[in-house]
């Protein structure tokens, strides 16, 4: 068993404080002349690497290794509602193909639902080798027990080395259930995935509200599981000619029993979803009053953009709460985002820093938004935005004349 130990004889009055301080989790205690590790320890091993030399040591012992050669392929969970496939699925297929290429693995999809056989064909246009379809009436609504049972059946049958699941409402509920059933690791909201030669999946995700990145491995269990948010990976181009095959799977119907009954499904009213927007104009604290939203709206209209905001503008009630970008709001990945008067706290930038082009206007040249912006414009939004609107209008006019 691996463990962290303390070489007590190397602890002295001069280094004990340094040692305690090095732990970001307050997990090192000094009681009656002895260093103790409390339950707050996250095993980040910072105390080993950065603490006083040789005091803390990490002892690794041989673990029972899983036979990795028995687990092949990368599985993608097909996220859908009533057969309408969520686009995160294609993004994950794209990523799965990249990962699979490294170790020469096939890419699988598992599609669980009711009346979905026809819809499975669409997946064959994205370069999947095999789609496993569980099509049963009991799977019409997402209910946790039958969906987990079908997923479990797929894993037992196919033995995929890695599983990618979209971090959607369904994925975030289903993936942990499956992970616990197989006693395996699940890393939430991965932003980067890489494949090692030995088929270990390198999973990178923001930790502590995006302040640091954690690189996570799942070396001794299979399948390795990750969830990935929508708009983090890139979907491949749809190919005209389908490739791969569809396999209709059977399962013992008894396993599809559930203690949940869905009584009523109501469509939410269609609303502009900033997660799907290609262009976004985002405003922050520098906006002085609600009436100034008019100029923001005008700019947004000219660019065909959606308006989004940071938490203060949401709390002021100027912008609908569903248009909040950031950790407590939505993650966006538009082609263009213009951040107006936003300081750039990590809680905000974590929700938009993978946008393709980031323009930021801020009076403060040291604002942290400039760390993520491709074009950092040091200036006052009240001077720039009205003139920018005029300039864009004029460009349009020029174009018409020609």
């Amino acid at each position: 068993m691996s463990k962290l130990i303390c070489n007590q004889e190397k602890v002295n009055e001069s280094n004990v404080e340094e040692l305690i301080k090095v732990c970001p989790f307050n997990a090192i205690e000094y009681n009656e002349g002895k260093i103790e590790i409390n339950a707050g320890c996250k095993m980040c091993k910072i105390c080993v690497k950065k603490g006083p030399d040789g005091v803390m040591e990490f002892i690794e012992t041989e673990e029972i290794k899983v036979d990795k050669s028995l687990w092949k392929g990368i599985g993608v969970y097909v996220d859908h509602v009533e057969g309408v496939i969520h686009p995160v699925t294609m993004e994950l297929i794209g990523k799965a193909r990249e990962l699979a290429a490294v170790v020469n693995f096939p890419v699988y999809c598992v599609f669980i639902g009711s009346n979905i056989k026809e819809k499975a064909k669409e997946l064959l246009h994205y370069g999947v080798d095999e789609v496993f379809v569980y099509d049963f009436e009991e799977l019409k609504d997402f209910r946790i027990e039958p969906y987990t049972a079908a997923f479990e059946d797929f894993v037992n049958k196919v033995k995929p080395s890695s599983l990618l699941v979209g971090a959607t409402t369904i994925g975030r509920s289903l993936a942990p259930r499956v992970a616990a059933r197989f006693r395996t690791g699940l890393t939430a909201d991965c932003t980067m995935l890489e494949m090692k030669e030995n088929t270990d999946l390198v999973q990178i995700r923001p930790a502590f509200g995006g302040n640091i990145m954690a690189q996570i491995l799942c070396p001794n269990t299979r399948p390795q599981m990750s969830t990935v948010r929508y708009k983090v990976m890139n979907a491949p181009e749809r190919q005209c000619a389908p490739t791969g095959k569809i396999t209709i799977c059977d399962i013992d119907r008894k396993k599809l029993a559930s203690n949940i009954e869905v009584l009523k499904v109501t469509k939410k009213e269609a609303e502009d979803n900033i997660s799907d927007a290609e262009v976004i104009v985002a405003v922050g604290r520098a906006l002085k009053s609600e009436k100034d939203m008019a100029m923001i709206q005008e700019l947004a209209d000219l660019l065909g953009a959606q308006i989004a905001g940071t938490r203060p503008t949401i709390e002021a009630g100027w912008i609908n709460a569903k248009k909040q970008i950031g950790l407590s709001g939505r993650t966006v990945k538009p082609k263009l985002i213009i951040a107006l008067g936003i300081s750039g706290a990590v809680q905000f930038t974590a929700g938009m820093n993978s946008s393709e082009r980031i323009f930021a206007v801020n009076k403060d040249e040291n604002a942290s938004i400039f760390n993520v912006a491709h074009y950092g414009i040091v200036g006052d939004i009240y001077e720039i935005v009205p003139q920018l609107i005029e300039n864009i209008k004029n460009q349009g006019a020029e174009y018409c004349v020609r």
């Binding site: 409390n38 942990p176 923001p206 820093n353």
Partner: protein, 262 residues
Amino acid sequence: MDILVCIKQVPGTSKVEVDPVTGVLKRDGVDSKMNPYDLFALETALKIKEKQGGLIKVITMGPPQAKDVIREAYMMGADEGALVSDRKFAGADVLATSYTLSQGVRKMGNFDLILCGKQTTDGDTAQVGPEMAEYLSIPHIANVLKIIEIKEKSVIVEMDMANTVEIAEIQFPCLLTVDKDIYQPRLPSYRKKLATKDREIKMISLNDFEDKNEKKYGLNGSPTQVERIFPPSVNNDRETWTGSGAQLSLKIAAKLKELKFV
């Protein structure tokens, strides 16, 4: 009906900085609080109790100082609380944490209903609730927006499904994770603080568990390993423009045109 609520102590702020040179986390005056999402779970339990009676028990896992969140729960109206704590739990990932908590839950009794917040503000995974439900072999529903009706053997809830809102009936025993804003959480009461200041907080450690196999807890029970942590990459490929408002607005318009956005 007795309800169990799972709560967690989290850092008071998520503003943790990493020293770019040493890679060490800077933590200046980091204080702790109850995970804000758990307040909604606790409030939901309190609302149910007002109608149905019964006891509200809370459970948390963490270092000894995590007792503070149990005290906080007492101040809001929880009746009993337990802290699951052991040095052998150190380094637990989601799976080991879920297993540890499920063992703790079994120690606290039988519950028809277990409530969790939607996620924590530090781990941010939203995975522990569903994984616990799996270990307890009970169904769960995540993202509950409303408790519509508590029946004798089931509860009817409204849940958020991204594009739809669904109403579902789930049999007891079950686990629900509740969305924020399900109910406005009450503030801790000073009167309750005084009334509960001597109330016991049950301590549960590995020796109290049914399953005492050390390999299933803490680092050894964790399939995932943090290989390294590093500061997020700073985008170096960037330009900074300065000048008058007129110059800058012209420059932006030209760039937007060049990039085919206008």
